[in-house]
Assembly symmetry: C2
């Protein structure tokens, strides 16, 4: 499972953590609902989560569209706008659990947050 967060929004540590948590729950719930064959392996391996960054809305949108086009389990997280950001700001995208090679293909050029 990979979670990609926007670095250009200058979110605080707690804000980033909550966006990552939203993405992780969303991915887990959709993988469980669709009985994803990758979910069990992921759970068995200690539920690895890698947090990466991009520096723009456009880069994050491209990543999400690509993940969907590749039929990967993916989610886009929009902030509710109660605190630091405007309502509906795209803050993070989650991808997986899926085949490591498939997730890597889309995310290997990105840096760790």
């Amino acid at each position: 499972m990979v979670i990609i967060v926007r670095s250009d929004l200058n979110m605080g540590k707690g804000k980033i953590a909550s966006q990552a948590a939203h993405a992780a729950v969303s991915l887990y719930a959709s993988a469980a609902k669709s009985s994803s064959p990758h979910l069990k392996a992921w759970l068995f391996c200690g539920q690895p989560k890698v947090v990466l960054k991009v520096d723009s809305h456009a880069a994050l949108t491209d990543l999400y569209d690509n993940a969907i086009a590749h039929k990967l389990n993916a989610c886009a997280i929009y902030d509710a706008g109660r605190t630091q950001l405007h309502q509906g700001t795209l803050t993070a995208v989650g991808i997986g659990p899926d085949r490591v090679e498939d997730v890597d293909e889309l995310t290997k050029s990105l840096k760790l947050l």
Copy 2:
């Protein structure tokens, strides 16, 4: 859902985000497994997540023990030790979804991360 992170470990933003994501998935999975009556309400309200901090292992352990003693849905997150921390370091505790009053009673004195 409240996630409490240790600030004394000086974890990076990405590390904090992954620990929070671990906690959130763990809480969601256990709430779903036990058919928690609070899960549906939490999902309906946009899955609110609040990220707080404590400054020691002891404070986090106390919080977890207290949550369990109050029969709240809770999890303790230990790092796998592959990157920044020693294996088995307690990094975060998650509580909820549960009655807001019950979670607040244990966490109202803590500061936002």
